[in-house]
Symmetry: D2
Subunit: 140 residues, 4 copies
Amino acid sequence: MSFDVRTQVRFAHVDAAGIVFYPRFFEMLNGAVEDWFDQSLGCHFTVLQKVHGLAVPTVHLETDFVVACELGEWLDIRLEVERLGEKSVTLSFAFTVAGERRLGGKVVLVCMELGVRRARPWPEDLRARMQSALVGTLDA
Amino acid sequence: MSFDVRTQVRFAHVDAAGIVFYPRFFEMLNGAVEDWFDQSLGCHFTVLQKVHGLAVPTVHLETDFVVACELGEWLDIRLEVERLGEKSVTLSFAFTVAGERRLGGKVVLVCMELGVRRARPWPEDLRARMQSALVGTLDA
Amino acid sequence: MSFDVRTQVRFAHVDAAGIVFYPRFFEMLNGAVEDWFDQSLGCHFTVLQKVHGLAVPTVHLETDFVVACELGEWLDIRLEVERLGEKSVTLSFAFTVAGERRLGGKVVLVCMELGVRRARPWPEDLRARMQSALVGTLDA
Amino acid sequence: MSFDVRTQVRFAHVDAAGIVFYPRFFEMLNGAVEDWFDQSLGCHFTVLQKVHGLAVPTVHLETDFVVACELGEWLDIRLEVERLGEKSVTLSFAFTVAGERRLGGKVVLVCMELGVRRARPWPEDLRARMQSALVGTLDA
């Protein structure tokens, strides 16, 4: 039910202390959400924008940074649907390196109509696919 | 007691939906923390690093994004010391535009020794200055 | 005739070697171009986009990086109009610190219609203001 | 003899005009150079830094941006060694999408000693591997 991607810590991510500058983690997280939309929900961000006229801005974010990440490390990013609202979705996320938790938290995305910049209900097919990814969903 | 800075939304901050891409807010927030260290605590990040051998990585972050921000808008960023620990400090922050709250939250920074990358107590003078900036401190 | 702005090297700009990661210089350069449009040409990027339906993408760039820039340094950025074409403008730029040249080069911007993404002639008033900023223009 | 990598245009790369903001291309280019060092030269940036005490700052850059790149597109980045100096290397680069040239140019990197921040000759093994990647090298 979870969605997993890998990404590597790049020179562009690292600060003067030799560790990832934390805003860069959110660029990576946003990339993972893009991949989730594309690969799991069957709706690349370009389709979301151009076909549906939608965007998914972040309205809430909380993160614990547990262990610093260094240049060259491979980060496993896991996303899980924690709560599915009519117009929003709450994802929990975790970044691990070889199984060690480096950071994690949750992020709330809202379904927004691009033209008017107002929240609206998820399109039915997107919602159905998110629903089936919901953690704890019983298959029986 | 609070610390205030202004910054403008730049083309580099804005996404395809015409609003600030949220990781960019944390670059701005980090800039505000730099200014706070420099202007209020009397300790620019370069001094912190080169003289004290310290860095202040973020260990916790939570944010509510209330209203989107657009290219050209001037953001007033306010920082307040909410809690001062032996080795950490909790800041609350708010970004407003002409008094309207756009985003806000809190961020926890830790005093880290650069060489060993381990938390350590704040240097006495830094701690004293943070203490005096603590919200709710009685002056009498 | 030249346009000058100052900006400070931030923690977000600096890499593991303790110096500005070069793509960050172009974020600063773009910021200087925004300020030039706003303050000298009287046309903020938001007006350019929303009123005129235009953008000014970069089509050519060349840069020499002479001396590295460090955290906390104040950079003086100077822009000069070197050549004004019907649909493009060539700016030379220099970043100095206390008069010492750190980097410099030239950048060519094109006047692009947002809808069709095609080059078009500069609006008359913009062109006239760029013309008057042209280096070497005789006033007599 | 050339080195090729692929990367996808992400939401984080794209500006308000819906196309890649040009400084992001240089983050991608830097990533390609990292991969080249790691995969072709057998020397990941972390080894370069921690074992050799070296960095490879960019001292010259020139780029033509031919066609804009959009969200979701897959960019093929090709690097070629154009000239190998005692203390520097000139790479030509091209970004294409399905064979169509989008941007290209050249970049000059210098071998720098991290401690003193001064150029120095390439380590012998690195130099030998770069030499063998030189465009136009005769194998016979």
